[in-house]
């Protein structure tokens, strides 16, 4: 079993997923949006998978929110917060985002189609894309991870 896992890991290291699948997600007003709208535009973007009930996710988005203006000014990066809330909690997204004064673009992946297509099992999960290609991924949030994330953004924004 362990040999198989190690073997799998090796093959995996060799080939990381490069593209974001063209899955349909929703805007906050309920209208649909295909992910290629986002991946076909140039520049560096952060896709942040979160949910209203996930405390570390909120911590991360709160932390980035404090420095987000500087990030945008310096690198032109755009953060897209993709909520994976289902019907139980999705109604909380809009008041929470406004209550927190976040400036991010918010999308909704209600039945987790995009999350599944990117094989994300745990949130928070960030995916950094440059000109539509995945250049960085990270699972989980601890204080300070936003600095590491910004280093990646700066490197790719050059």
């Amino acid at each position: 079993m362990s040999i198989v896992i190690v073997f799998l890991m090796c093959t995996i290291q060799a080939n990381a997923q490069k593209n974001v699948p063209n899955i349909t997600v929703k805007n906050l007003d309920g209208s649909t949006l295909n992910m290629d709208k986002i991946t076909k535009s140039k520049g560096v973007k952060i896709l942040n998978f979160w949910a209203t009930w996930c405390v570390p996710c909120i911590n991360e988005l709160d932390a980035i929110s404090e420095v987000y203006e500087d990030w945008v000014d310096e690198t032109g990066v755009e953060l897209i917060a993709i909520a994976t809330d289902d019907a139980r909690t999705k109604k909380r997204i809009k008041p929470l985002v406004n209550g927190k004064d976040w400036e991010y673009k918010i999308l909704l992946d209600e039945n987790q189609d995009l999350q599944r297509a990117l094989n994300i099992t745990t949130i928070p999960h960030v995916v950094v894309i440059k000109n539509g290609r995945i250049v960085f991924r990270h699972t989980g949030y601890f204080p300070g991870a936003e600095d590491q994330l910004y280093d990646v953004v700066k490197k790719n924004a050059k």
Binding site: A16, G30, V55, K91, R92, P95, N111, R137, T139, Q148
Partner: protein, 560 residues
């Protein structure tokens, strides 16, 4: 099993080599292969504190390998699942194999999408139909069959499907017919700063009726209809949904109740207001006999199998250990075990308020202060049941027995560049008799303080203190967590919840856990050793019962 996996990973390696070449050449397109792998291995040991591990197999594992292939407009994939030598504690005994659990092929272009094989689907908010996967809960209610989605224009979308539902490594007896339409009315009404959308769905479930219950007033085919209207303006939004279900036999704890046939209905209203720094949201819901299974006799099964729709408990989802002991679950079912326990459905609602005290104000301080308030109230539908002629009379807007209430307040405060805190208070009323069929009610108060200290730009410490006060059930609990984040990739934690108030001294147990995780790219490895509290484990308002256990857990997830 090993052989199968090895073959699979070899095949994977070969195809990945292909994909690599293709990247370099960029002339021929062999398509792309992506996937994910997750493995959870648990080693259960005998614990003098909890007693001997009385089940078979001390070492168990759940493994999931998902592969997706895409070339142009064509997509295909499989999910291999392996429960070896047995699934983890309290997963369905139907998950006892290593095999291809799901497969699909799909064609998709701008207007049309055709899928055959297994697929996930949700109509509207899921009240009428939802197929989904949640591995920690052991839920995989996907559908196997065929589905067509058609979008003739930006404002119209239609879905039609025929399927049976996944049930372990098999599929359900019942057949499912579904149709869904979403109509964007914004342009029709020439709205400029707001949107208006309507939805209509039909779901039918057809299943043979056992001989002794034939001709007792219900059909093989049970029909459900849903109509929805959603409005979203600049700061105000609202939505409404109504569902009906045709007459069907009442089945309690997987057994038909003779001559008891009832229709069902559901009603959901939501509205909210939000502007910068303030958000308010309110939801009301009434459910009468709305549980819906792909096999009638699955009603009341403890593994959440064969559930066709999604009826979550509409309360705040908590993320702390002691706030998740008394969790409300939706009560959509008609159940009449005895005259003192009559349940016809539920009615209630919840309200959320989010507010940000701005930087520079007295309460806001230098960094601002964020608060979140939630209040929820749920009761049974008021009604009467006549045991002799099997007749239920149910009030439409009558509140019956109180099932649950909750008030919570969360305050988030950043003190300076190094310190930040969260304060959390919850008051709960939990009717154990009606929610989990135990005796009595539980009144509880819970307080949580969480503080994070940043040592430097990479390193931090997080500490949590929790306490639950109640004169009922298992009495008081205390809990604590300490987490050391070495860097953004590596973290260690130790936590403990302690039922020190329990009247029975033997049950004053520490449920301690210690572990760590390492994450790099899309790969995460986590290990844990400790005691699992028995009871309901809930994610997203759906709960699974787990027994107490002690042991070592290894969790590996990766995507490629």
């Amino acid at each position: 099993m090993k052989k199968k996996l090895l073959c699979l990973s070899l095949a994977l390696a070969c195809s990945i080599a292909f994909a690599q070449n293709q990247n370099e050449e960029d002339k021929r397109n062999y398509g792309t292969l992506t996937g994910g792998f997750e493995s959870i291995v648990q080693w259960y040991n005998d614990d003098p504190g909890l007693g001997k591990f009385a089940e078979d197999e001390h070492v168990r594992s759940n493994n999931y390998l998902k592969l997706d292939y895409n070339i142009g407009n064509w997509f295909a994939g499989i999910q291999v699942e392996s429960y070896a030598p047995m699934p983890l504690l309290n997963y369905s005994p139907k998950l006892d194999d290593t095999d291809i659990a799901q497969y699909y092929a799909m064609f998709k272009n701008r207007k049309l999408e055709i899928t055959v094989g297994y697929f996930y689907e949700q109509f509207g908010s899921g009240l009428i139909l939802r197929g989904w996967e949640n591995r920690p809960l052991g839920i995989n209610n996907s559908f196997r069959g065929a589905r067509i989605k058609y979008e003739p224009s930006n404002s119209l979308s239609f879905t039609g499907l025929y399927a049976r539902q996944r049930d372990g490594f098999e599929v359900s007896e019942g057949e499912i017919y579904g149709f869904n339409s979403e109509i964007d009315l914004t342009n029709l009404f020439k709205l400029e700063t707001s949107t208006l959308a309507a939805g209509f769905s039909y779901v039918g479930r057809k299943e043979d009726i056992p001989e002794q219950f034939q001709n007792t007033g219900f059909d093989e085919l049970t029909n459900t209809f849903s109509v929805r209207l959603d409005y979203s303006g600049n700061s105000f939004y609202s939505g409404i949904e109504y569902i009906t279900k045709s007459k069907d036999a009442i089945v309690n704890t997987q057994r038909y109740i003779e001559n008891f046939v009832e229709p069902g209905s559901g009603f959901l209203v939501n509205f909210g207001y939000s502007q910068k720094g303030l958000g308010i949201d309110a939801t009301l819901r009434r459910l009468e006999n709305m549980s819906f299974f792909s096999e009638r006799e699955a009603s009341g099964n403890v593994f959440n199998e064969n559930i066709m729709n999604y009826l979550p408990g509409l309360t705040k989802q908590h993320d702390y250990l002691l706030t998740n002991i008394y969790v409300y679950q939706a009560q959509p079912t008609i159940s009449v075990p005895d005259p003192s326990l009559l349940k016809f459905g539920e009615i209630g609602g919840q309200i959320d308020i989010f507010y940000n005290f701005k930087k520079g104000t007295p309460i806001g301080g230098k960094y601002g202060t964020k608060i979140a308030l939630n209040a929820a109230y749920w009761a049974g539908l008021r009604g009467d049941f006549n045991f002799t002629d099997r007749q239920a009379n149910i009030d439409y807007f009558g509140f019956g027995e109180k099932y649950f209430s909750e008030y919570s307040l969360e305050v988030r405060k950043k003190w300076n560049r190094k310190w930040q805190s969260i304060f959390y208070y919850v008051n709960q009323y939990y009717n154990e008799r009606f929610i989990v069929d135990k005796l009595g009610v539980v009144n509880s108060n819970i307080g949580v303080v969480e503080t994070t200290y940043r040592i430097n730009s990479k390193r931090s410490i997080r500490a949590e203190l929790q306490h639950l006060w109640t004169p009922d059930d298992m009495k008081n609990w205390a809990g604590a967590t300490l987490e050391f984040n070495v860097n953004p990739r590596l973290s260690f934690y130790v936590n403990d919840i302690y039922n020190y108030g329990n009247d029975n001294e033997e049950d004053q147990i520490h449920y301690y856990n210690v572990g760590g995780s390492y994450a790099r790219g899309a790969t995460r490895v986590a290990i844990n050793y400790g005691r699992q509290r028995g009871g309901l484990i809930c994610v997203g308002g759906v709960c699974r019962f787990v027994p107490e256990s002690t042991g070592f857990t290894l969790n590996l997830t990766t995507a490629f």
